[in-house]
């Protein structure tokens, strides 16, 4: 009986997919246009304003050296990083929501962000960042910290005979996060004021790596992991149906879940290493995407990646504008948008 219900839900999903493919293409194109528009707006905004025409001129190689410096060395890398980080976090959240079958899952809530942050702050404490520091190491360090936190949370939430229930996992995640924040607090107050300022700003999620080096450090991760996840879309859909059905349909549930969780942690970790503590993107973007293109991951993954990128460019642009000349860390703007949305989801969630 239950199988019949599930099978019919698969059928429904398939029919949604065939009806929805046009819709998916339209949505993705619209999002793409929106990203281009906000890209141009973001290029214009800042302490030095450049008109769109100047931006185009400079992009095609006929700007003044000063305009080139501002665009190519300051604004462009930052915008590219925003898009990549937003996309990575969004896809990471989308994967976690499927593997835990819980719509409130998100790398921030699950403590992956804080684990990665702790690892990065420890690294920075011992090897202060300068020209020579190995920036390519940062994503690996963050990945290590994030995976340790994820493993720890899974072990702590595991209960013999019951397995891992979503609600226990989330509360454990919050508990571990608060423990890691205490450790971070102990670390940060011991830093000297200059490093302290840097670490607090990093923790509050400023896109601080305004440098092509950081783009290069992040790009391989995104370029490899996003297509991999897209390739796994079918598996994620099956997993979304529940363990029994997934096993019945011939997937090896345990291994797939492990691989997918590893991917999610790697995406979140590498994004955090460059972007700082940005939460809620991984929660919101897949939700909006699900509303736009439905629950199938083949459509959901590219859509949430684009939405994540768009959200982060917009947040980053706002962060530069709202308190001019002071710059607000992007993570703060994201929380101001994301937390209310999260609360809204919580209010309408079923028991």
């Amino acid at each position: 009986m239950r199988v019949v219900v599930y099978m019919s839900s698969i059928k429904r999903n398939n029919s949604v997919a065939s009806r929805g493919s046009l819709r998916t293409i339209t949505t993705i194109s619209i999002l793409f246009v929106l990203i281009v528009i906000s890209f141009i707006i973001s290029m214009n905004t800042g302490i030095v304003r450049l008109s769109p025409i100047d931006v185009f001129k400079t992009l095609f190689g006929s700007g003044t050296p000063r305009q080139e410096l501002i665009l190519f060395d300051f604004r462009l890398p930052r915008i590219v990083i925003s898009i990549l980080v937003g996309a990575g976090l969004a896809v990471s959240g989308a994967i976690l929501q499927a593997t835990f079958r819980n719509e409130l899952a998100d790398p921030g809530i699950l403590g992956i962000n804080s684990g990665a942050s702790l690892a990065v702050v420890l690294f920075i404490t011992f090897f202060p960042l300068n020209e020579l520091s190995p920036i390519f190491m940062l994503p690996f360090i963050a990945l290590l910290g994030g995976s340790l936190a994820a493993v720890l949370i899974n072990i702590l939430a595991y209960k013999k005979g019951y397995g891992i229930s979503p609600s226990r996992l989330i509360i454990t995640g919050i508990a571990v996060t608060s423990g890691i924040s205490a450790a971070l607090l102990m670390l940060t107050v011991r830093l000297d004021p200059r490093n302290f300022e840097f670490v607090t700003i990093w923790l509050s999620g400023s896109i601080w790596g305004t440098n092509w080096k950081f783009v290069l450090a992040l790009l391989p991760w995104i370029l490899i992991l996003l297509p991999f996840v897209y390739f796994k879309a079918r598996t994620i859909d099956v997993m979304n149906l529940g363990d029994y059905i997934a096993a019945g349909l011939g997937t090896s549930v345990g291994r797939d879940r492990l691989v997918l969780m590893g991917t999610a942690v790697a995406l979140a970790g590498s994004c955090i290493a460059v972007g700082g503590g940005i939460s809620f993107i991984g929660l919101i973007a897949p939700h909006i995407a699900r509303r736009l293109v439905g629950p199938l991951y083949r459509a959901l993954i590219p859509t949430s990646a684009l939405i994540g990128g768009l959200l982060l460019i917009v947040a980053d642009t706002l962060a530069r504008v709202i308190l001019q000349p002071a710059e607000v860390p992007t993570g703060i703007v994201v929380s101001m948008i994301g937390a209310p949305y999260f609360l809204y989801l919580l209010a309408r969630a079923r028991a």
């Binding site: 019951y162 508990a175 423990g179 102990m186 940060t188 607090t200 809620f280 929380s335 609360l343 919580l346």
Partner: protein, 374 residues
């Protein structure tokens, strides 16, 4: 307005599990006729007054010792006898006496007062909402209050401490109100997990607002040190301001303890025993806001005392709040005084944030509670 929301949402807390209450006890109460007097229920509620008396007396003695220890330890260690003399035979010419009187004594006393306030606030919350995860820090009270204080520091620097406390109360009501409001709108009411999630989100939101303010007004390090919590800045002025509020809150909670015990058996039972549930909820909400708000105004959002201590107190003396509230007060005071000693000793010339020390005890406990969750 916000208080009304809190009251209404307290009203919805049905489905929360009652771990402490014996299932047998529930059955007997259900089977007994409705003429049951509340006194008879009270006698059936498991409680251990003797242990409670021992904890209160022993705890107060330990507290006295802790305060003395806290006064004598520091950058310069002061002998116990000098501490004694400074308090009872004060000599204004001695610099050590001055240090004891002006810096260390108020600090130790503030620790005791604030620790008691956090613990009792948590105790009342857990009793009324029957939610094992209810505590001032997890459900947004600390975050709300801290946000209100960030507003004070940014817009009205040099505000009198009296008005700061008022802001703190308002902020506490704001944070708690949003968290309870949101989790009771949703179907199924405010379950522990929903409250915890809403608390985490509201804390993140309010923290990001505070950070935005602090960046704009260049008070970043001040505010984040203050957010870390600490007894470093406490003086007699602050103690004079907070102690009437906290004393009133403690007395009020003792007066209300009988009703809280009955409420902790569940709404239906409480109503059938003639409790005016809405009134009790409103009074408890006010007590929690006063205790939590005053405590945060004095030392910042120090976490975990309100979560851990009530559980320990109930474990030791049972679910009769007549005993577990005073025991929570004594144990909470002890915890914060000793955590503050730890904060000064661990990394000696520097001070570790006391919130990190309480987290050291609190996080494992929180994890243990999370494991109990289904």
């Amino acid at each position: 307005m916000i208080i009304i929301i809190i009251v209404l949402s307290f009203e919805n807390c049905y489905h929360l599990f009652v771990e402490e209450v014996d299932k047998n006890l529930m059955k007997t109460i259900h089977n007994e006729s409705k003429h049951n007097e509340s006194k008879r229920v009270q006698s059936k509620v498991q409680s251990r007054p003797l242990i409670a008396m021992i904890i209160i007396v022993g705890g107060l003695a330990a507290l006295f010792l802790g305060i003395t220890l806290s006064i004598s330890l520091g950058a310069v260690n002061i002998h116990f006898r000098t501490v004694w003399e400074a308090v009872f035979h004060f000599n204004p010419d001695s610099s050590q006496h001055q240090v004891v009187r002006q810096i260390r004594l108020p600090r130790a006393l503030a620790g005791a007062i604030v620790g008691a306030a956090f613990a009792v606030a948590g105790c009342i919350m857990q009793g009324i909402t029957r939610n094992p995860l209810a505590s001032p820090d997890l459900i947004g009270l600390n975050a709300g209050s801290a946000f209100a204080l960030a507003v004070c520091f940014s817009f009205f620097p040099g505000m009198s401490f009296h008005s700061i406390i008022m802001f703190s109360f308002a902020g506490a009501a704001l944070g708690t109100g949003i968290v309870y409001g949101i989790s009771s709108i949703s179907r199924g009411g405010p379950t522990p997990i929903r409250l915890t999630l809403a608390g985490a989100a509201v804390s993140a939101l309010l923290l990001s607002f505070s950070q935005g303010l602090s960046i704009y007004f260049h008070t970043a390090q001040n505010i984040s040190f203050w957010y870390a919590g600490g007894l470093g800045g406490t003086d007699w002025g602050i103690i004079k301001m907070i102690s009437p509020w906290i004393a009133a809150g403690l007395v009020g909670s003792l007066v209300l303890s009988r009703s809280i015990t009955i409420m902790s058996l569940g709404d239906d039972i409480a109503a059938s025993l003639g409790q005016r549930t809405t009134l009790v909820r409103a009074a408890s909400a006010i007590l929690v806001l006063v205790l939590g708000g005053a405590a945060v105004a004095a030392v910042g959002p120090v976490g975990f005392i309100g979560l851990v201590i009530p559980h320990i107190a109930r474990l030791l003396v049972g679910v009769d709040y007549k005993w577990s509230i005073p025991c929570s007060a004594v144990l909470g005071a002890l915890l914060l005084v000793f955590a503050d000693i730890g904060a000064r000793v661990i990394n000696a010339p520097y001070e570790t944030p006391v919130g990190a020390i309480t987290a050291l005890i609190g996080v494992p406990f929180f994890l243990y509670l999370a494991r109990k969750e289904k």
